[in-house]
Each structure stands twice: as structure tokens, then as C-alpha cells.
């Protein structure tokens, strides 16, 4: 079964399409919606998005792989984006990154086996006056120290465990060939 958008996503997409003079221009917003729903963008989802925006799957593939925020493979529930660019580097950004690597037992670019965290070494995230810093979703974590990072990671993991308890019985991979993010509608 090829994947389909949920009713909620379809509504969001309809609204997005009405804001542009052609469907192709809505490609980035539609990809964001698709990634919100399916967790990442494997081939079947790329084909679905191509159909939605009236462009070729090859075009969508080219766009997806051009931008760093679109993922072709599954990412963890919490994506930790740690800045190591100059302003953060000067104030210990790499120390923070290495501390997280050690604490989670993964390298930058990897996901923890339980799917709780993906660690990303990021370029400047525009919070230079509060370096070193990282983003997780809508949350900014500023003026970091290794101690602060410990508290943040413990807190995120606790919240993730609570969410896990509430996710659908089928769990990850329920949707054939695609696999929703934990907590997403299957």
C-alpha cells in the first residue's frame, strides 16, 4: 500500500497550496508536513509528495537531498542540533558536542539504538550571544555547560519514555514500508 496523508495533513496541505500561484512552490512546506507525519522521507513518500505538488519524483529527490533538514532515514524523537561554529567554538561548543557524544554513546550524525536521540553537529543557529548552545525542536538551550547538558538530556529522556507509553500498540513500523515516528498517527 502506498502511503497516504492523514486527513489532518491533507487539510494543512490544502491551506498551503492556496498561498502560492503554483503547486511546485509549495514543495518545501509540503515536505515539512510529510516529514512531520511520516518521520522521514523514503521513496514512497517522495512519490506521494511529487503527486501532491505536480512535479517529478526526481525533482523532489533533488530538493530533499539539497536541504539538511529533510531526512531520508529515520531520526530519533529528539533531534539535538549542537552548534560548533565559530561563536560557539570560542566558548566551548566542541566540548559540549563531545560531552553529549560520550553521554549518549553515539557520534554526531548517529541515532541512539532506542530511537530517543539523534545528534547533529550544526552550523551557526543564530544564538551566538548565548554560546555554546543547541536546539531541540522549538526549544533553545543556551549558555550550555556539561552540567546543564546532563540535566537537559535526563529531562528529555524522561519525557520521551512517557510519550513511548502513549504511542500506538503497533509501535514503529506499523505503516508498511514507511514507519511513523513514535507517537505519530499510524
Amino acid at each position: 500500500m502506498p502511503p497516504e496523508f492523514s486527513a489532518q495533513s491533507k487539510q494543512r496541505i490544502e491551506r498551503v497550496l492556496s498561498r502560492y500561484p503554483n503547486k511546485q512552490a509549495a514543495l518545501l512546506p509540503v515536505l515539512h508536513i510529510a516529514q512531520d507525519e511520516f518521520g522521514h522521507l523514503p521513496d514512497p513518500v517522495i512519490e506521494l509528495v511529487a503527486k501532491t505538488c505536480d512535479v517529478s519524483p526526481a525533482h523532489v529527490f533533488g530538493v530533499v537531498t539539497f536541504y539538511t533538514m529533510f531526512h531520508r532515514s529515520r531520526h530519533g524523537r529528539n533531534e539535538l542540533m549542537v552548534c560548533t561554529n565559530i561563536s560557539c567554538m570560542l566558548r566551548g561548543g566542541y566540548q559540549i558536542l563531545h560531552h553529549i557524544e560520550q553521554k549518549l554513546g553515539i557520534k554526531a550524525g548517529q541515532t541512539t539504538p532506542d530511537g530517543a536521540f539523534t545528534l547533529v553537529e550544526e552550523e551557526c543557529l543564530a544564538a551566538c550571544a548565548n554560546a555554546p548552545m543547541m536546539i531541540c525542536g522549538q526549544d533553545y538551550f543556551l549558555d550550555l555547560t556539561p552540567q546543564k547538558v546532563d540535566t537537559i538530556l535526563d529531562d528529555l529522556r524522561r519525557r520521551w519514555r512517557e510519550q513511548q507509553k502513549m504511542s500506538p500498540v503497533g509501535g514503529a513500523g506499523t505503516l508498511h514500508g514507511v514507519g511513523p515516528t513514535p507517537g505519530a498517527k499510524a
Binding site: 503554483n22 512552490a25 518545501l28 561554529n85 561563536s87 570560542l90 551557526c124 551566538c128 554560546a131 522549538q138
Partner: protein, 461 residues
Amino acid sequence: MANAEAANLKIVTKNFGVADSHKLSVYQQRGGGQAFRKALTMQPAALVDEVKKSNLRGRGGAGFPTGMKWSFIPKEAKTVYLVVNADESEPGTCKDRELMAYDPHLLLEGMLIASYALGCKHAYIYIRGEMMREARIVDEAIDEAYAAGLLGKEHYGASGAFKLDITLHRGAGAYICGEETGLLNSLEGKRGWPRLKPPFPAVRGLFNAPTVVNNVETLMNLPDIITKGGEWFAGVGMGKSGGTRIVCVSGHVAKPGVYELPMGISTRALIYDVCGGIPGGRALKGVIPGGSSMPPLDASEIDVPIEFDALMTDTRIKDVEIRPGVPFDLGGGRKLKTMAGSGGVVVFDDSTDVVALCARIMEFYAHESCGQCTPCREGSGWLARVCKRVARGEGEAGDIELMANVANGIGGNTICALGDAAAWPMLGFITKFRADFEAKLAQSAKARKAAEPTGGVGARA
């Protein structure tokens, strides 16, 4: 230097620190909305003139006069787009994010004024993908403005009916989309590849229509220009740069932050008076004055005002060179000093490994090169690899010349300015801190010698 009124003047950060400053009700209580009402009583051409008179210059990096940019829009154009560049990603720059988070309605009012002046009916805000929180705040502000009838409803101005729609468009992680034509391609659902110019966006931009792309901070200056007048705005500025200047100070200072300051304050005053000096009693090594793509200043050059023209021409700043005594040519014999750029001031003290710092900048541009032009795609990678090996202590004799040569081959030879953004700081760091690069090479030569077998080559055979 700016006039006395400018000392404590706040134009774009005037609502910072006010509770719920992101809400429309608070914005209106504090006088927001008056400027747009006044603008509606004026003819669009008069608004463009007012902005020209104000000496407002683009705050995204290039410092191009805003009024002049607007005047390039053909008079007979039926569809015109205004696009807000909120793709802030220049390392060291963190102003637009804060401006949008604290005062999104000031941005929307600036967009209303600009759209009325330009004849734009649908404006887009291209916000950086990673800024999910700010996207939510701006989206909520747009909803509020629709509910209040500011957007999506006809206003009656001196030139007739005027109605504006605004759409927030999220990017998806690509520095190159901050380049205005890369941004337009991205907004059209394509890879963010910069376009060849001409045609410039003012002639053929978004969806092939005449388009103005303005930075967030630039537009947020408009309400005060309209209420107080272009002459007033020019008067509080310095030389040909009107208004105040937002600087984002990061790195080795006691009080890093986003500050709105008089145009033309010196880097020295910024570091030692505003930001509390360098912590730990250390000495200053250098400063990047306008985001990582700008050549750095060394400690002897910090008395120059942080103003667009001064940083480009002041003779107290050394010319950037391709080799000792030979200045880099910007074309037509113009020499490169540095630029005010995006206002991202990065301060580094004498404990800093400047070669490693430079290597990190090169790594960034190599990562962000879009791959369209060979000099930038290949060259930025070369710069990153060679600079990193020098920083690691694995450099070879001639590496400094190699890097300068590669950088010189990129500068001015690419479709967009990203190539220059890699080449300029590379040449700048070598020019200002050559001794540090040489010391690294001397170290690695010594280490290599020590590792050689005592009998010389072949002794072990």
C-alpha cells in the same frame, strides 16, 4: 559620528523587554500601527523618496541603499513581490531571530508600508528552517493581523485600494538560501541555487515578477522613518548610513549580546565600554566585524567605526593581500579591507588558535557551497582541507601560498557571493595573522624532522 540624539536611540529594539511584546494589543498600545496609517495618506512614490532620503541601507550584509533598490522596480509592473529574507545563518549573527521573536508586528507593519509603496499584494517571509520557535511566533502574529483586518482586507490609501496577504515560508537548512536569488529559487520549490544576474530580482524575481528582497531588520526601520521622516533617520546616522545599527557580539567578551547602538561606534568602544571587555584579563587578538565571511581586524585596527563605508575604506585598516605587498583586487583596482556585513561581531582573545578558527570558517563554507560553480565547489573544499591540516600540525611548506592562491582563484569568479565569503576571510586571516600560520608550519616541520629515522632515508633498508 552620529548626533547626540542617537546615543540612546532605539528604533528596532524599542519594544524589547516589554511584557508580551510579540502580541498585537501590546504593539498597538505602544503606538504601533500609526506609521502604516500615515503611509496610506501618502503616494507610493513619495514613500520611496522618503526611504531614499533616510539613507536606510540593507542590514542583511551588503549595505545596499534600500530606497534605490525599491526604485529599480519597473513602474508599469502589474505583479510585484516583497520577500523578507529571514534566513539568518551567517556565523556570528543572531539579530533577526531575536527581532522576530520579540517584535513580529513591527516587521509586519514594515512589510505593510513597503508593500503599499511597491504595489505588492502578496508578500512572503522566508524564515530559516531551524527557527521553529520563531516561525510559530511570526505565524501567530500573522494570524492576529488577519483577525484584526490589517491583512487580507482592503485599506483605502492615497493611491486607491490596497490589500496585502502575507505567507510565512520555512526553509529547510541551507545557508545558500540567504543569498537572495537562491532564496527565490527555494521559495519556488527548487534547490536553492543562486541565479545569474542580470536580470536582477527587481526586474525578474519571484515567479518571474519584479521582486524586492529585504532583510528583517531593514524593514523594521520603516515605521519610524515614516512617522519621524527620512531626514530625521539620516540625521541620527553617520555619513551615508542612516539610523542605528544592531550588532550581535559573541566570543570572548564579558557581556555578549544583541545591542542597538549609534551607527559608527568604534569596535574598541563596543568591546570595552558596551560589552565589558575581555574576560580573564586577556588581551585582544582580533575581531571579525560583520559575520564570518568578512576579513578580520587585528588588535591595532579596532578604532575604526563599525559603519558600512568606514570599514571598506578607512586607511587605518590594512588591505587584504594575496601575498605580502600585493593587494587582492576587487575589480577595477578596488582594494578589500573589510565590511560591516550582517553586524555579527566575533571577538577572540590571545589564547585563540586563529588557524583553527580560520579552518572552522573554511569548513563551514565548504559545507554550504551549493556546488553550482566549480571555483567555489572545489576551492572551498581545498581551503577547508589544507587549512585544517595546517591547524592540526600536518601542514607542508608552501601551504600558505597554496591557500592564498586558491582563495584568489575563487574571489570574483562565481555566480554568487558565497565564493567570496570563503575567499575573503581566508586571505584576511593570512594577511593579518601570517605569523600564526608560519608558526604552525614551523612546528609541523620540526615534528616531521624528529620523526625521521636517524640514519636518514633508506637507513632501515
